[in-house]
Symmetry: C4
Subunit: 266 residues, 4 copies
C-alpha cells in the first residue's frame, strides 16, 4: 500500500514538503487550542465568550482525535506508536475534553497539549537542540544517585526543622501542624520565602535563620554535582584522541596527521 507509506511520511516525518506543512499546521493548532483553554479560564472572558471558546475547544479536540486515530491507522506497528512517548502525550492531549463531559472543570488539563509542542524541535530540524537536550538528560541521569542523596537530606532537614518549629512557635503564628510547618521549612530552605507563614518568637527566628543559611549554602551541592558532570562530559567529548600504529602513543589531537612522538604518519 504505497499511499499508506506516503501518508505515514507526511504525518510522522518532516523530510517532504507536505510533511513539513502538516507539522507546521499541527503546531499552530496546538498553540491556538492552548490559548483557547487559557482564555476560557479567565472569568470575565468566560462569561462573555464562553460559547465560542467551548466550540473552539471541541473543534480542536475532535481535530486532534481524528489525527490520533489516523496516526494509529497508518502506523504499521500500531502498539509501538500507542505506547511510545508521543503516542501517550497525543492521547492525554484529547482526553480532558471528554472527561469534562462528566466532571466539570477538568478540560483545563488540556494545557498538557504543550508537551505536543516538543515536535517543534523536529520540525525546525533543530538537531542541535535535540543534541543539547540529550546532553543535559545524560548528565542528569549520570548524577541521579547523588541528586537522590541530596533530596533525601533536604527531606530529612525539612521534616525535623518543621517539627522543631511547630514545638517552638506554638499554634498561634501559622505553624498550625507539623505538615504545615514542613511546608514552611520547604518555603524557607528553597529560599522562596512567601511570607505567608513566618516565625514570631525570638527562638523561632533564630532557628529560621539557621534554615535560611543552610538553604543558601546547600544549593551549592546540586549545582556542584551537575556542573562537575557537565564539565566531565565536555572533557570526554573533546578528548577524541587518535592512536599511532607505529609507536602506540594514543594521545594525538583529532586533526593530527603525524604522530607527535615518533613522527610517523597516522
Amino acid at each position: 500500500m504505497n499511499w499508506k507509506k506516503r501518508l505515514y511520511d507526511i504525518v510522522f516525518k518532516t523530510d517532504t514538503r507536505a510533511g513539513k506543512l502538516f507539522d507546521v499546521v499541527l503546531v499552530i493548532s496546538i498553540i491556538l487550542s492552548i490559548i483557547v483553554v487559557m482564555l476560557d479560564s479567565i472569568a470575565t472572558i468566560h462569561q462573555e465568550h464562553g460559547k465560542i471558546l467551548l466550540t473552539a475547544e471541541w473543534f480542536f479536540t475532535i481535530l486532534f482525535t481524528i489525527e490520533y486515530l489516523f496516526r494509529i491507522y497508518i502506523s504499521k506497528k500500531k502498539f509501538n506508536y500507542v505506547l511510545s512517548f508521543y503516542g501517550i502525550i497525543d492521547l492525554l492531549a484529547i482526553l480532558p475534553t471528554y472527561i469534562s463531559l462528566f466532571f466539570a472543570g477538568y478540560h483545563y488539563l488540556l494545557v498538557i497539549r504543550i508537551l505536543r509542542l516538543l515536535r517543534i524541535f523536529r520540525i525546525l530540524k533543530l538537531y542541535r537542540f535535540i543534541g543539547a537536550s540529550s546532553y543535559l538528560m545524560e548528565s542528569l541521569k549520570a548524577s541521579r544517585h547523588k541528586i537522590a542523596v541530596f533530596l533525601s537530606a533536604v527531606m530529612a532537614i525539612v521534616v525535623i526543622m518543621g517539627a522543631a518549629m511547630y514545638l517552638i512557635e506554638g499554634q498561634e503564628s501559622g505553624f498550625k501542624s507539623i505538615p504545615e510547618s514542613i511546608y514552611w521549612a520547604i518555603i524557607t530552605l528553597t529560599t522562596v520565602g512567601y511570607g505567608d507563614i513566618t516565625p514570631v518568637t525570638p527562638l523561632g527566628k533564630a532557628l529560621a535563620s539557621v534554615v535560611m543559611i543552610l538553604g543558601y549554602s546547600i544549593i551549592a551541592v546540586p549545582t556542584g554535582i551537575i556542573t562537575a558532570e557537565l564539565t566531565r562530559k565536555k572533557d570526554k567529548d573533546e578528548r577524541d584522541r587518535k592512536i599511532c600504529n607505529e609507536c602506540g602513543c594514543n594521545d594525538h589531537d583529532k586533526d593530527a596527521s603525524y604522530c607527535k612522538v615518533c613522527g610517523k604518519e597516522i
Copy 2:
C-alpha cells in the same frame, strides 16, 4: 551461642532472607509512626482521633524500645552499638514519648525517627547511594575551611548591615532591635525575602538593594567552592593510572614509559 549470632545477623545485617524481612518491617513501622505523629499535630484530627493516635504512638514506642534493648542484648560489644551513630539515633527515636509524660508536647520530636530511615539505603543494598553520599561528604569535608571563612564573612555582613538598618530605619518599620534587624539581613542576604520586615525609608531601600545584590552575587562563592572540589575529585578518580609490575606503584601517568618510583620500564 549460635542463636545469638544468628539473631545478630537478622537484626543488624541484610544478607539473609530473615534479615531483609526484619528491616523492611522496621522501615514500614518507622514510616507509619512518623505519619501518626504528623496526623496527631493537626488540631481537627487530634480532636477526633486523638486517643487512637496516642495508642498507636505508644504501640510504636514500646515496639522500638523492645527492639532497642534487644539490639543491645545481642550485640557483643554493647557499648560500641550504644555509642554508634545508629545507636544514638535509635535511642533518640524513643525518648520523646517518655519525656512527653512529664512535658506535654515534646512527643512531636518523634519525627527524629526519620533519621532511622537512613537504614533504607542499607536494605536496598544501594551501594551506589552510599558511594554517592560518602563522595559528597568528602567534598564538603575538604572544603570545610573555605566554607567556614565564607560563613564568617556572611555573619559579619549581616551583623553590620543589620545594625546600620536599625539606625537608618528607626523603630517604626519592623526594625525593632539590632537582633531583629540582623534577622532581616539574613532573610534578605539569603534571598529568602519573607517580606514581614521591609525598609520604608529611601536610604533603607538603597542599603537593602546593596544587601540583595551582595546576596545574589556571593552565593557564587560556596557554589564555586563545592564545584571546584567535586570537579577535582572526579578528575582524580577518573584519571586512569598505570601500574608498575616491579614495585606495584599504581600512580603513573598514562604516557609514562618508566616507573617513577623504581625506574624500571613499565
Copy 3:
C-alpha cells in the same frame, strides 16, 4: 576636509585630549539627564520642581539631538553609523521626549539613555572590561542551544503546574485564571516568592512544595551549563601550545616532538 576628520576623531574616538574631554562631558550629561528623569517621576518633587525638570529634560534632549545629527554629519559612511548598535541607542535616547509631546508619560523611557553609558568602557580605555564582556558573551553564545532547551523545559513546567494549581486551588485563593496561576508558578519556580498568591488547600501546598524543590534543584542546570562553558574556554585559552617553525601550525601539545601536520621535528 581635514577639519571633518579631526572632528570625527574627537566625537567618535578617545585617543586625543579633546576626544577624551568630549566623552567625559557626554557621560556626565547622560548621567545628569537620567537623574532628571528619575527625580521627575517622584510625585512630590514633580509638583514642586516640575517646571525646572521639564526644562532640564528638554535641554538635554536638544543637546543630544544636536549631537546625534552632528555624528551623522561627520560620519563618512552615514548609514553605517545610523544602523550601528550605538547609532540606534543614540536615536532611542532622544525619541521619548518628542513622543511625550503627543503621549504624556512616555518621556520616562528616557532611562534607555543608560545604554549610552556603555561608552564609559571606551573612555576609560578599559580593554580588560571589553575583553571580559566579550568573553562572557561568547560563553553565553556557545551555550545558547542548551539554555533554549532549559527555558523550554521551564516554560512547560510552569504552564502545566499553573493549570494543575488552578484546578486544585479553585478560584478563591488568588489562582483566578490559568495565566494568573502560571504567573504564580513562575514566581515559585524561580524562588522569588512574592507571597501575593499562595496556595491554601493541603493538596495545593503539596504541589507548591514540589514546584519549589524543583525550582531549587534545576537552577543547577543553567549554572552548570555556563560554568562548564567558561571552564572549557579558560582551559583552551591557557593551554600553551607549541608552534611548528616549518608549517606555522600553532596547536601542538606541550609534549609533542614532531609537528602533527607536516611531521617535521619541532
Copy 4:
C-alpha cells in the same frame, strides 16, 4: 627598651603564653561588648537595664581606648599601625560611643567591633583559614573585571525594567516613582521577592515574569565566573610538576623519583 619589645610581642603576637592569653581576653571582651550593644537596642531590655548596659558600654569603650593608645605607644612605626587595616578597625570600634555623646543613637555602630574578631583566626593559629580566605580573595580579585561587567549589566537591566514597570503599572500599585520601581526590579531580579511591591496589571505581571526568569538564569553567570576561577587556581596549585635534567621532560608528578620518559633519576 627591652620591656617595650616584650609588651609588643604580647599585644601584637600570639607566640608567647602571655600573648595568647591577652588575645583570648580581648576576643571575649569584644564579644561581650557586642552583646551589650545588641541587648541595649531591644526596647524592653533598654527600659529595665538601660543604666547597667550604658555603664558596660562605657567600660568596654574606655578599655578599648586604653588598648588602642597602648598599641600606638608600643609600636615602633606608629603610623604603620594607625593606617593599617587593623589600626583603622580598632579606631572605628571605639569612636561610636564618643560620637553618641553628641548624636544620640550612633553608639549602635559599635557592632563594627565584630570586624575586630578577625583576630580570632590569628589566635587559633588557624593558618588553614587564612590560606582559605586568601585563596578566595585571590579568585575574587582575578574575576573582578568580569564581575564588574556582570554588575553593570544587572544595573542596566534594573533601571530599564524599573522605568518600564513604572510606565505600565501606573502609580496605584506601589510603583510610585522610577527609583521605587528600580528597587522593585532589584528585589525581583535577585529572587528576594519581599512582595511589598507587586504588579497588578496583566502586562506588568508578564514583564515581571520576564525579570524573574532573567534573574533566575543570569545568577549562573557570577557562579560560573567564580567557579571557573577556583577550578583553574586549583588545577594550577596541583600542577607542581618536576623537570628531568636528562631529557628535559617537564611533566613529572611531585612524588616522582625517576623520569617517566628516559628512566634517569631526577
